[in-house]
Assembly symmetry: none
Homo-oligomer: 189 residues x 2
């Protein structure tokens, strides 16, 4: 039915993965423990698999679960241009360098602060870690209640599930900001 296709905002890369390994549906079925009929339906978008069966498939192919989910993220740099640009309330300029990848659990932003500009961020979800690498200018980062000074070429890694903030010096600042979300690549059992 087309309902599956229409509902599928999630595009599964099963066919690509299987094609990459050169396996037939039968062998893939034997390898994963999922019937080849079902594998075929999933590939054609006629069926929306359970995460249980999706896990079987991932395990059979010895891949992380996220390798089957979502758009292919290992792409040429052309793709990276059309990713959204985020603008935060404080009107800091944020460009996306590396979009979020569920397989990596990471994304990277390019942030520009005007001279003397500051931005405070509320606590993120639990387990989130941020890394900051200063490209230009000088920067101070509020971490654990202290403002840590950073110069160009310096980096700082800190837990982002606490309130934190950034403020630039008199010359402004530009920095890379990597967000790491807790690894989700599940383990069997």
């Amino acid at each position: 039915m087309d309902s599956a296709v229409e509902s599928g905002e999630v595009t599964l890369k099963l066919r690509e993965v299987r094609a990459a390994t050169g396996l037939s549906l039968s062998k893939a079925a034997e390898l994963t423990g999922v019937s080849k009929a079902m594998l075929g339906q999933i590939e054609r978008g006629e069926s929306s698999p359970t995460i249980a069966t999706l896990w079987k498939i991932a395990k059979g192919f010895q891949l992380p679960l996220s390798a089957l989910i979502g758009p292919a993220s290992l792409r040429d740099p052309a793709d990276e241009r059309l990713f959204r640009t985020v603008t935060f309330p404080g009107s800091i300029k944020v460009k996306i360098v590396f979009p979020f990848d569920p397989m990596l659990g990471a994304e990277t932003f390019h942030v520009t602060l005007a001279p003397g500009q500051s931005y405070e961020s509320a606590a993120h979800a639990s387990g989130v870690t941020e890394e900051v690498f200063v490209l230009h200018g000088a920067l101070e980062i509020l971490r654990d209640g202290d403002w840590v000074p950073l110069r160009t070429g310096q980096g700082l890694r800190f837990a982002a599930d606490l309130p934190h903030g950034y403020r630039s010096g008199a010359e402004g600042a530009a920095f890379l900001n990597m967000h790491h979300y807790p690894q989700q690549t599940g383990l069997p059992v």
Copy 2:
């Protein structure tokens, strides 16, 4: 039934996420378009959701899909990858910006290439992803047999489990090099 628990090798973090936002099942149902009965069953592990409904949930909570998947299982940090200083053949200059963190599965290097210098790397372990962000100069990256040109401020993400390489232009280059290691399934081939 414990059959659900047993079959569910994937544990979902729905309950934690919902608790973190302080939402009730009813409001979560209204927000996501998934019935609260089903949400409850999923939380208790009595039902293995379809990726379609899992996607609804993630979208309702405005979270990446991976935020719901998988046990944030604690991997033992016993990893031999804890080297602090890296020296590659060809005498490329490599400084460690962010050391390897087993929780993140990531590390970041600062690499400097002399003008015209090149370095080719063999394939890394399966599933390793690299990200490169050019700080100074111009760079070309060998990926899938093609040399991809990058200028200052540009980035490239690619799978590092294939042979790849870097070479600088006439002015040399400096770039950040992030390595992302996946969590292993542990199954031998």
